[in-house]
Amino acid sequence: MRAGLDAVPAGIVLADEHGRPVLRNRAASVGGHSDVLVDEAVQRLLAMAVGGQPAEQRLQLHGPPPRVLQIRGIPLAGGGALAVIDDLSERARLDAVRTDFVANISHELKTPVGALAVLAEALADSDDMEVNRHLALTLVEEAHRASNTIDDLLELSRIELGGPGEREEVSVAGVIGEAVARHRLTADTAGVCLEVTLVGAKMVVGDRLQLVSAVANLVDNAVKYTNPGGGVRVSAVAADGWLEISVADDGVGIPARDLDRVFERFYRVDRARSRDTGGTGLGLAIVRHVATNHGGEVSVRSREGEGSTFTLRIPLQEEQ
């Protein structure tokens, strides 16, 4: 019976007629400080349930790890009570992703369109050639921004719908070289030093265009968020059948609360700065899809004020 209870993913605590816990499964065991707080809520609900009153409470814990729990106290017919602890963390995370996605996509798509309309109206009302020139240049800038967003959306949907894409033996140096070359000029202009290190890997099986796009997006981000005089290091290391491409910068870094969410479509760490950096908010979503299509993953380590390291990890050979 014990093994059966331990196999249940929900936490279960059984209490006697005085509300004292007499049995708890593994998911309800008390370890860290968060568990002490969960246990406090469980005992409170058990005391209410023993009195014949069903009760429930939603508990949001900062962690780490952050958790959202639903705890129910259920009276038992023969006396005593049962507490059931359901972990709603993943459901709560998905709800937040869904809600924010709608807000973010409307912000990213409506802002440039709104700006275009306002600029065009101003242009129509102005007779001053100097002002007209300035407005026209800003119009072009906004049109490019809208066009970039649409391009990234199309690329993302192509990668999503196209699945793994074309499989071929691809040169690792070629992929990294092409991705770095796309942003070399921007880096030089911004005073950011771009370094490349290759260890071991010569070839990898994958879709060349997708891989170049993923690495280029990582390099683009790193260059954008690194201050002049800083550096971006791109490295590729092959070991144990896996290729690890890392892009490390010593830029502004990402706040801890945003780390889990940066790969979501249109998610912005700092929405106020997003227009200055000029991104579309889709780059890291594209990287994640490329990683998934290649049977790999992408991860990030970051600390504010110290920089970020993004690591794209894919198998060297296609899985059979």
Partner: protein
């Protein structure tokens, strides 16, 4: 076991559980206060500041419960150590709650001022380290683990080093014109608050060792090892005995 002794042990266990809960509540509030400070979350600050009164009230109740046990049950040996240690630990937890509240008050005072990424990074690390110390102290208490409790002093050396790094970063940010003097002063207080939370966690751990082994903290001990963030290895202070020396 007669009914009187059963009640005694039940009361003692209840007092232990309540102390663990209060300490766990403080440990949970540390990252919340850090988020309040970094996000300028005034609503969150208000909640934590108001919630501190509840922690204070529960601490007073717990102290009374301990006094009742002392007066009515006259505990001896390890149980006496337990009650005496609990009474000492209550003040550590209560004071830690006040420090968390003070971080939120500082957040309100600097509301509207942007902090540069380096400052934000060190604040995040100090908050994480302070919480880690507190969690380790709670785990040592709940699990009656003297070895875990003994490790906290060295863990605290890292937090002390972070405080020095933070003060340095505050000076740099202020001299670089990123923050004004008033903000710099508030942040220096915040550094001190995190550092003191770490000290209270160490004191709790010392009391855990006292409960388990009867060991009494040595106030005449040589200076603690200093943690060098650059080399990431603890360095003995000049004049202190080198534990590695033969």
């Amino acid at each position: 076991m007669n009914e009187l002794r059963k009640t005694y042990h039940h009361d003692l266990e209840q007092a232990r559980e309540e102390l663990a809960r209060l300490a766990a509540l403080v440990a949970e509030l540390i990252p919340r206060a850090t988020a309040v400070l970094l996000d300028g979350d005034l609503e969150g600050a208000e909640l934590i500041i108001r919630g501190d009164a509840e922690i204070d009230a529960r601490c007073v109740d717990l102290e009374e419960a301990c006094l009742r046990i002392l007066a009515l049950q006259a505990p001896v040996a390890s149980e006496l150590r337990q009650v005496v240690a609990l009474m000492k630990m209550i003040s550590e937890v209560e004071r830690s709650g006040d420090l968390v509240r003070n971080i939120c008050k500082a957040a309100r005072r600097i509301y509207g001022h942007d902090l540069d990424p380096k400052l934000r990074g060190v604040i995040t690390r100090m908050g994480e380290q302070a919480q880690q110390l507190y969690s380790a102290a709670i785990a040592a208490f709940v699990e009656n683990d003297a070895a875990k409790a003994a490790a906290l002093d060295d863990m605290d050396a890292y937090l002390d080093a972070l405080q020095k790094q933070f003060i340095q970063a505050i000076f740099e940010s202020q001299s670089g014109g990123h923050i004004d003097l008033q903000v710099a002063v508030q942040l220096a207080y915040v550094a001190r608050f995190y550092e003191r939370i770490g000290d209270h966690a160490v004191n709790i751990a010392e009391r855990v060792r006292f409960i388990i082994t009867g060991w009494v903290p040595d106030h005449k001990k040589p200076d603690r090892p200093r943690f060098d963030l650059d080399s990431a290895t603890p360095e003995p202070v000049a004049g202190a005995p080198d534990p590695g020396a033969s």
